[in-house]
């Protein structure tokens, strides 16, 4: 069925409004985008890692989740959703329930790249019929913008401070999407918010309706942590993709597919300039740092193209 933006946006929301995420937060967009791909007749159990999303959507005695939702801790959304999915199989086998359920976990980059990495890797390797969604906003935003292993190089965070002796985070962000692909799971997709959200919808649908362990990595900008105007989120995402900082691709059945190739690949400055976390790079003496980011971005992009064209 052809993708119809208006139709998609008219679907009943499974994450209701009134939650306490910041205005313009990328995490809420990720959740709504993924849940729109659920068939209306299918039920879902959602697990959340501790983080902005969880503390903002489920404050006793309120919950923004229309589906069943469980939060237990920061580092274990992978294991928690594994348990729920296994319970479903066990109970279905024993004739204790008959509805169709889908199992989706959401974690930020802190809960996914770092503290929850082991739990995620275990869940992926065991092949539970789940979708793990990382809303990657490139730092520990819930605790006040500390660096994660997903934070990009030279970004300023509160634990990769910029000062006379430091230009921000010294390391490149770890490539989690490729690491999960190396688990040989059923489906891996990397996306963000672009134009009419068709790419997000398509990847979420594949992830939810492909049997087995599936992983989505969604670049989910954080206006407070990245320090850009909240209204500019779509422009920020577009620049992430057009500078090849955040390529859109998927891996299924060992086949790597690039879903979007910029007609005109833009320099990384176009992505970095609107963001306060990179402000310190735009001085005469730090020009070489931007060059380093450009070189690293180009290398990563070339390597990805090789995989996709192989």
């Amino acid at each position: 069925m052809a993708y119809n933006f208006k139709e998609q946006m008219s679907k009943p929301e499974r994450l209701s409004g009134g939650h306490r995420l910041c205005a313009g937060c990328g995490a809420g967009i990720a959740v709504r985008g993924v849940l729109r791909a659920l068939k209306e007749e299918d039920k879902a159990v959602i697990a959340g890692a501790t983080g902005c999303l969880e503390v903002s959507t489920c404050l006793y005695p309120y919950s923004a989740w229309n589906d069943s939702f469980i939060h237990s801790a920061f580092e274990n959304a992978g294991a928690t959703i594994s348990g729920a999915e296994t319970a479903y199989r066990a109970m279905k086998k024993r004739g204790k329930l008959d509805d169709n359920y889908k199992f989706i976990a959401f974690g930020g980059d802190g809960g996914t790249y770092d503290i929850g990495f082991q739990s995620l890797s275990g869940a992926m390797e065991r092949g539970h019929d789940i979708v793990y969604v990382c809303y990657d906003n490139g730092a520990y935003m819930n605790t006040g913008t500390q660096r994660s292993s997903g934070t990009p190089m030279y970004a300023q965070t509160t634990t990769s401070a910029v000062g006379t002796h430091s230009p921000g985070k010294l390391q490149q962000g770890k490539n989690l999407t490729e690491i999960i692909a190396a688990h040989n799971v059923a489906y891996v997709g990397q996306t963000t918010y672009l134009s009419n959200f068709k790419d997000l919808q398509s990847k979420a649908e594949k992830a939810i309706y492909t049997q087995g362990a599936c992983f989505l990595n969604i670049l989910s900008p954080c206006p407070r942590g990245w320090r850009y105007e909240a209204a500019d989120i779509m422009e920020i995402c577009k620049m992430a993709v057009d500078t090849c900082t955040w390529p859109m691709y998927e891996v299924q059945d060992n086949k790597w597919t690039l879903n979007y190739k910029p007609k005109n690949k833009l320099p990384v400055e176009d992505y970095l300039r609107p963001q306060g976390r990179f402000k310190h790079l735009f001085t005469k003496e730090n020009e070489h740092l931007i060059h380093e980011i450009q070189v690293a971005t180009d290398q990563n992009w070339e390597r990805l193209l090789e995989k996709c064209e192989a």
Binding site: K43, V45, A47, E54, V55, C58, L59, Y60, P61, Y62, S63, W65, N66, D67, S68, F69, I70, H71, S72, A73, E75, N76, G78, A79, T80, I81, S82, G83, A84, E85, T86, A87, Y88, R89, A90, M91, K93, R94, K96, L97, D99, Y101, Q118, S119, S121, G122, E125, R126
Partner: protein, 393 residues
């Protein structure tokens, strides 16, 4: 008719799990509890039970997966020891606060460091305040019987708390003993089918679990957990009565051995109670009125039962198989002494730490404790501090 068997503690527990046939078991190997998930995995592989097994990548994940599955509505179990229990520490509290009646056999082993695989109680004693019901076994028979009762205690609608059933590593878990197991059908009927009232996969009522709890609500929720623990007292008694009717084996919060006229008594947990009973028999033969109180249920703590049992003694020795590093002995020493104080019993009490990291506890070791107690009675001097038994100096 029950079935006479020769089984190790781990085998006995694995057979109890087979008879319970939980919906889900998630586990990660750690000595000396490893055999339990191994046996369960084999039962599943041979089609003897249809439990779904999750071979997780750590104990933190085994407890997390149990939380996910029990929350979803499935009867869930795991088993662990020592560092595995310590790795679960955060999740133990969460399981209890989510009111999930997960059952977990714990095979007691010393905590690192230094790394050591043998029995003491530092692992489960460290978890004593996590909100779990704790039961301790002296031998394989009790390990088996406690686990079967634990399922019903935790799942009781007025309790809804997780339960750990502990036995001593190697001493109980690996030594083969004569035990009586129940018929499969009897266990199945006894534990019944797990029917949660509220759960994630409920047909009509979706629910959110584990919300952020502000200070306007947190304290009330913690109080509700305490009420669950209080309610566990009656559930433990009722389940024990039903179990006795089925099996002929009677259980209480504590077991009293030769306490009716005892002048000197020790309070102890776990396998060393068996050794202590032999020591007491010897002492009785020699004319010393010795006795023993074995604690079976440590959480909820049987304060009144302990105080009453000790009401007639002259000197009591409290035996901790774990250090507290409070400079005041182990946790049992502190809690049993508090029980005596709170109940107005002015009984001389001496605290001992013994058996750490599998240090042998022999009849002589226990006699040494009683020698101490007799000396205290003679001199009237109660050591202010606590003492180590079996320490090489």
């Amino acid at each position: 008719m029950s079935i006479k068997e020769r089984l190790s503690g781990n085998e006995a527990v694995a057979i109890a799990i087979k008879q319970i046939n939980p919906d889900v078991m998630a586990a990660f190997p750690i000595t000396p509890s490893t055999e339990i998930p191994q046996h369960v995995s084999t039962f599943i592989a041979n089609g003897e039970i249809d439990t779904e097994f999750i071979p997780v990548e750590s104990e933190h994940s085994s407890m997390s997966a149990c939380i996910g599955s029990q929350a979803a509505g499935a009867r869930s179990m795991t088993a662990t020891s020592s560092c595995g229990l310590a790795l679960m520490f955060e999740m133990l509290y969460i399981a209890a606060s989510l009111r999930l009646p997960i059952t977990m056999p714990v095979v007691n082993r010393a905590l690192s460091g230094p790394i050591n695989i043998n029995a003491d109680h530092s692992d489960s004693m460290g978890a004593r305040d996590a909100g779990w019901i704790q039961m301790y076994a002296e031998n394989a028979q009790e390990a088996y019987d406690n686990l079967i009762q634990a399922v019903r205690i935790g799942e009781h609608k007025d309790v809804l708390l997780p339960v750990m059933t502990c036995q001593d590593g190697f001493i109980t878990s690996h030594a083969v003993e004569n035990i009586e197991i129940l018929e499969d059908e009897k266990v199945k009927d006894f534990v019944g089918e797990y029917k949660a009232e509220k759960f994630l996969l409920h047909k009509t009522d979706n629910m959110s679990m584990g919300p952020y709890d502000t200070s306007a609500y947190y304290m009330e929720h913690k109080y509700q957990q305490a009420v669950g623990m209080e309610n566990a007292r009656k559930a433990i008694e009722d389940v024990a009565a039903d179990f006795a009717a089925m099996s002929g084996r009677k259980y209480d919060y504590i077991e009293k051995y030769k306490m009716d006229d005892a002048d000197f008594a020790i309070v102890i947990i776990g396998s060393s109670a068996g050794t202590a009973k032999d020591a007491i028999d010897e002492l009785r033969h020699e004319g010393v009125k010795a006795g023993l109180v074995k604690i079976r249920v440590y959480r909820p703590f049987p304060e009144q039962e302990i105080a009453d049992a000790l009401s007639g003694v002259k000197v009591v020795g409290i035996m901790d198989k774990s250090e507290g590093y409070s400079n005041n002995g182990g946790p049992m020493g502190a809690e049993v002494k508090a029980a005596l104080y709170g109940n107005g019993r002015n009984i001389k009490a001496v605290k001992f730490v013994y058996g750490l990291g599998g240090r042998d506890v022999k009849i002589e070791s226990i006699r040494e404790v009683f020698d101490n107690l007799i000396e205290v009675e003679k001199t009237g001097n109660v050591p202010a501090h606590y003492q180590y038994i079996g320490l090489r100096r």
